[in-house]
Symmetry: C2
Amino acid sequence: MAVSRRNVYLQKKSLTEAREIVTRRFAGLSINETETLAVPDAIGRTLAAPVFARLSSPGFHAAAMDGIAVQAASTYGASETRPIALAIGSQAIFINTGNVLPAGYDAVIMIEQVQQSGDAEVTIEAPAFPWQYIRKMGEDIVATELLFSQNHTITPYCVGALLAGGIFTVAVRRRPRVLIAPTGPELVDWQSADTDNLAPGQILETNSYILGGLIEACGGISERHAIVSDDHHAIRDIIKKAMAGDFDMVLTVGGSSAGSEDHARAVMADLGEILVHGVTIMPGKPVIVGVIEGKPVFGMPGYPVSTIIAFEQFVGPLLCRMLGTLYPDKPVADVFPTRKLASKLGVEEFLRVKLGTVGDRIVATALPRGAGSISTLTEADGIIRIPSNSEGVAGDRPVQAELLRPRAMIRDTIVVVGSHDNTLDILADHIRIEHPGLTLSSSHVGSLGGLMAIKKGGCHLAGSHLLDTEDGTYNVTYVQKYLPGRDVRLVNLVFRNQGLIVPKGNPKAIRDISDLAREDISMINRQAGSGTRILLDYRLAQLGIDPGGLNGYGNDEFTHMSIAAAVLSGTADVGLGIFAAARALELDFIPVVTEQYDLVIPDEFFESARIQTLLETIVTPAFKDRVAALGGYSTAKTGSVVTIRADA
Amino acid sequence: MAVSRRNVYLQKKSLTEAREIVTRRFAGLSINETETLAVPDAIGRTLAAPVFARLSSPGFHAAAMDGIAVQAASTYGASETRPIALAIGSQAIFINTGNVLPAGYDAVIMIEQVQQSGDAEVTIEAPAFPWQYIRKMGEDIVATELLFSQNHTITPYCVGALLAGGIFTVAVRRRPRVLIAPTGPELVDWQSADTDNLAPGQILETNSYILGGLIEACGGISERHAIVSDDHHAIRDIIKKAMAGDFDMVLTVGGSSAGSEDHARAVMADLGEILVHGVTIMPGKPVIVGVIEGKPVFGMPGYPVSTIIAFEQFVGPLLCRMLGTLYPDKPVADVFPTRKLASKLGVEEFLRVKLGTVGDRIVATALPRGAGSISTLTEADGIIRIPSNSEGVAGDRPVQAELLRPRAMIRDTIVVVGSHDNTLDILADHIRIEHPGLTLSSSHVGSLGGLMAIKKGGCHLAGSHLLDTEDGTYNVTYVQKYLPGRDVRLVNLVFRNQGLIVPKGNPKAIRDISDLAREDISMINRQAGSGTRILLDYRLAQLGIDPGGLNGYGNDEFTHMSIAAAVLSGTADVGLGIFAAARALELDFIPVVTEQYDLVIPDEFFESARIQTLLETIVTPAFKDRVAALGGYSTAKTGSVVTIRADA
């Protein structure tokens, strides 16, 4: 294999250009075959033809109130001083809401306005005007009128109007059929693979299932082809067969970029025409749009976030146009990034963010940008699109975000920014169980980062375990230093064991922190500003060890679990972290210290209902039991409060 | 049957009170039984327990770029002036995105930064830092970490994260089962009735199908009971059996108000406890909430709009809480009512409105308020909720509306307010076919009402056929009088026949307008301000007939189809209207005049893309053919434009 054999991208297109090319080229493509369905079964489907009412609703004049039917003329002149008596049966007929107006009657008087003045007569004290309290025939629907246009999507409300108008079956567009062909020699299918014993390099194929769900959500039917090796001829055969068969579209997944084993483009160029290869978006760049025998074929990127963005920008909108509908826009809101977000010029970036409402602002905290991390989308509450002509967005100024979750959920979120601890995940889950409307959203930027976020109004509270190396206390002096002028409560969440995480069996016989200085030892570190890093630096200073001389001191990670994962994978021999992380990955653990992990809560949020809910939750036995089950924690002081006054 | 036998409502509750009662009483009710589903089949379902990752993703260190794997240390010092050569195979290994990082290597250099300097070596001009362009094991997901909380709803994105984390099946809450029992002796089922020959008083039962669709949409399963007569014992048996069986909830539909044949309340009081009977909302007032054997039972109102609002306020939110989810809030927007909207004090009103964006405002035009008219919901784009402590909302001031359609649809709407003509429906359908993103929304307030709407910025254009009785011209003088200072285009839509609509066979031998003065004739009129009313008044004046002496002159309707429906149903013997309406309902038609029907378009909208799309559509042969098929129209001048200049 050599450099010269690589593909290169065609001229990359901007998102707008690429979308216009797709729209124009497939403008005439629509699903014209129909299915006839019973109306209640047609919810979510799109009408293939306009529908006109066959019956009027109501089909007769009906009482709109409980009362009596009368001839309006017989009531003229009635007043409190001159009540009029009406004979039951000939001048007045009792009638309930919905009943047919008897022939010869033209008004209804509400029962509340009627006095029964004898066995055979009633009295009224006000006249009726003609047609009062009557639902006239056709008031709702007149036979022959247009009920719904072609391309209307049937809702449960529509079911009512259709049935009332005498329409019991409707012709809807059949669902478009999409073949998904995942490609790549590294892929294995969870349905057949021995997933407990994956070989290095094997990856569970997930994109076809994600894409299948997205296709179904916009009204299509997906069929998944078995995983295809990156073999030109195999991919070619699959596309040819799909085109000859009854598929309306093909998505190959993977092999769409410019690597030497990326066959999608060659196959598509061979069988048809390539409209787009490469779009200046991130993630999603290596998407290919082609047309073969008049049908659209997409080469979808192999990274899950890339493939989802390519779907949402190209495939979904095209499928909807084929069905005569519109791909739904995501709702948007103005949000405030908690810090400056840099972005590459010339590329439109889809930045995933966590959102929450702090004070009167929706604040946005950026998630990692890797296109390979599906978790950056599942954890995201929104997406900030940074245009290609921008180098990023400033912090503390509003910018538009597309929302991935309901507004109410973003409103009712407790935003935690700061140090990571596994008990925060347990807390999030526990709150969600008892309070489905309340979300705890945590971002991991280290203890000092959390205090900075409080300072800037970017969160409701911060998780912190900052050791004052002068007096051995936690958090208090840092709050006083970094949040001057603020009234704050420190609520203890847990005490926890920090220690050295080493591989099972401790093969390099590490005993304590001094071993980090050994030449045969490579460590993994936590990021600057994290309480764990401060703890490490403190211990190194106590031991007189120069951090600059440690192997791997400059490689850092943002969570305890990432430290444990680095040790498990052999990236490093050792890292400082919490017991729970070591235990989770079945690694060995050498205790170094028991430390205090507090929630730092500014007074202005402390009394709020959502924070009180959180505080009530952490002292429940059920929550404490779940924390105890993680190992390495003490909840003896959980919930205890220290008040820090700005003027103290 | 007598007045004294009627029920009365329990003390009616406000919406807030009633919702709190339901929330509190059923706080402990949740669906705890689970189903285990393959992950791809679990989309839309709710997790019954938190899910933790079983595998890390990636499960190995992988290249994040196409390029070469290197040992970072071997690259230190490389620069443009001092390139470093690396031996292929021992110091550099070609690697594609996603490949396993070979043992002993710790960095990847992008292929774009690599020169092949010989068969066996490559050259680099910049150093690599350790772990650059490598996706580390666990970067996306670390085994044992929390993937999703209990009560999380699975999306297609989640499918990717679950499968990548080695989770292939999940335990989800089973769907709640709801029995729907429609009640009422007047109801017939479309599946069994002879719908072409309904007897007077018979009504097609639609509510159970609407409710079924709404239940499915929030994750429940509905079962429909056959229609039940309003019989106390029958209803009692059904509820008892459902409670004993595996239903989680029962909805009886109809018979929930205080009429003499409304048994729902008595049955529920008999079997259990009534929590709420009557809520101060409109529509939706006569809802009953009860609890029987610990399970919720709702008496749903019989009018479709009432039953939908009662569902959305009570049943849907409770079903979602039982599933641990939240009933989705409707998105909201600030809208400007085109006129003052009065509302009853003490009642929270759910007013259905049509919405469209005119200039920079979303304008709202009220739809009829009848709770019995499902079309007021299917035609609505939004709902304005007028609080119970308000007597209405002022026109031209913003008020919040809940949106029933996507924002993009409300943005891309052509708002037509004015005279009604059947060709507007055809036009709406026709535009929708060619331009799925564009909606034509028309409200019928008569020709003069349309000009007033233009004046107030409430529409893009108005349909108008206002006859100047002085000179026989249409529209021009009215525009000059009512829209002074405005530049306007008059675009002809159609010429059309207006005439007398009479029953088939013309039983009363009506010949012309002078017959309206006959004592044996009862007419139906159009509303004041409509072009048809002006035309009628003009003809009556010509004939020297006093309108005040005509039977039914004071009864008016807002559309031609309503006039035809009134004649068909016997409400009136005759009415003035267009041929197409008469023909649609197979009535006879006596021509009176051919009149000109124009679209009045202010200059500021005339050149907009959406109006140009409309103007292109009306001159297509396909549109003209559909208009011709209605009968009674000429399209000879369709599309011709008259320009009216304010300064002319």
